[in-house]
Amino acid sequence: LTDSPSDHRLAGAIAKFNRSKEQFDELIVEMDAFFNQDPKPHHSVGEFDTEKWEWVERFQITQEPPLRLGVIFGDCIHNLRSALDHVIWQTTLLDGGTPDDSTQFPIASKSEAQFEAIAKRRIAGLSEKHRALVKQAQPYNAGDQAHRHPLGVLATLSNTDKHRVVHPAYSFISDDPGPALDALVGSYQGEDSSPVHAFWMAKRGTRLMHGTPWFRITWEPGEEPPREVQVNADMTLGIAFGDIGVAASSIRHIAEAVLKVIQAFMADFPETVWED
């Protein structure tokens, strides 16, 4: 949504949505700055474990992601959540209702009954058609995947950010280890059989904690252990937030879900003009 003419009744919702995009961009810049600082906030140290006969690389954390990242993340989440509420406020007016302090976009992840209970107060002034649109967008419709529904995640993140704590940020592995392991398995160029019994890499999503193993090379029993292993691979790291571990990149999915709602309602405002 790039254009938000201020005479459109949903201009406020669109401005909120666009602000969340600016904050997301700011978050990406700050995350890059964190990862690319000198010295790096994380590095790896390896040693040979003589009991297990394996080389183990472990994360060394010199700096955790700053709290500020959680604050920016929270601002972004707040504006997305707020954009939904603004849509309902304006749509209530459009439908001839009278919005009040209870008016909000309801988000129900548990059940239809939960939705009905919340909707009584939140969207009392909406027409049947618009009520149905809200109902259609509810996370509970996703059944056992409701907890992963973008709007359900948005509600959880927003409530925590607004009322309880800044979402703590932590680094995690965002690479799938599969291709790297495949390349390693076929990489031995010696004349004899490979002295390596197995490779192991931490899976995608593993949280970076000080001392956590992320790479192991198990040697064949009896093979001479290496004095040194040089790990040249660059690992792609990401930052996730909160107890539920939402990756920063997931904001895109949440934003898409919010945009879908805004667009669905926007179609019913007579001042909306669609361009190709």
Binding site: A15, D85, W89
Partner: protein, 269 residues
Amino acid sequence: MHALHVETERFLGSPAYVPVVDEDPQTGEHVLRVEVRKWPPVLDWGVLAGDAVHNLRSGLDHLAFALCGDPPPNPDKSAFPIFDSEKGFDHKGCELLRGADAEVKRLIKAVQPGLRFKTPKAAHQDPLWLLYKLSNAEKHQLVLTVGGATHGANFPNLGPELERSTREVIAVGMGVLRKPITEQNQEFVRWTPDPGKPKLDPHRNMELAFFVAFDPEGPGRGLAAHDLLRKIDSYIRQQVLWPLCPHLPGMTLSDTELMLAISRLAVVH
């Protein structure tokens, strides 16, 4: 808050508003209008103000959450109560602080707008009440309206002929006192000039001051946007955070000294 300040100062620094005095040919009255050469990005400013409001309000809730135990007995209902009556606080506010010790509840009760002032009207001028209203509006209802307004007028170069025109000067002064600019060539005041006297020259005889304010009809009550947000911020630091921070779990004396230093720094700024 800083972003809003930078944006609005930049805007006011440009010649966005130009005062014009013309004569109404029908009545012969002089009319002071403001020509708008650049419209303010009202929505963008409103969203920035909303971000500041959200973080100020949210900071209070985080404080209450931390003061209600680890974990609070009722984490989903924990919030920093803001009530304009003692009854409201006693009935609903205490419930939001379940798990907090009695002294914390007493301190939070002491800063309630309804207890600091005798009448609801006075309580509604309280910084916490203004924050409460601004926060509800920006989160659930509308982008806060933040726009340009006239602040007041100075008359530095009236000259000997115009010095006698006190009536005209007062009329202009009153006409431009804190009024939002919403239309092109908006009329602010009209007056009947003294016969035979030269017309007030808006560029030579008067200096109009402009500022950026919340909508007078909205929860910001026409107050200067950045000033109000700073006032709320400063109030929270000194009157809420400072007395309550010694009660935060794990807070040491040196931490509290640091908090005091931060509060004082905010005042200096």
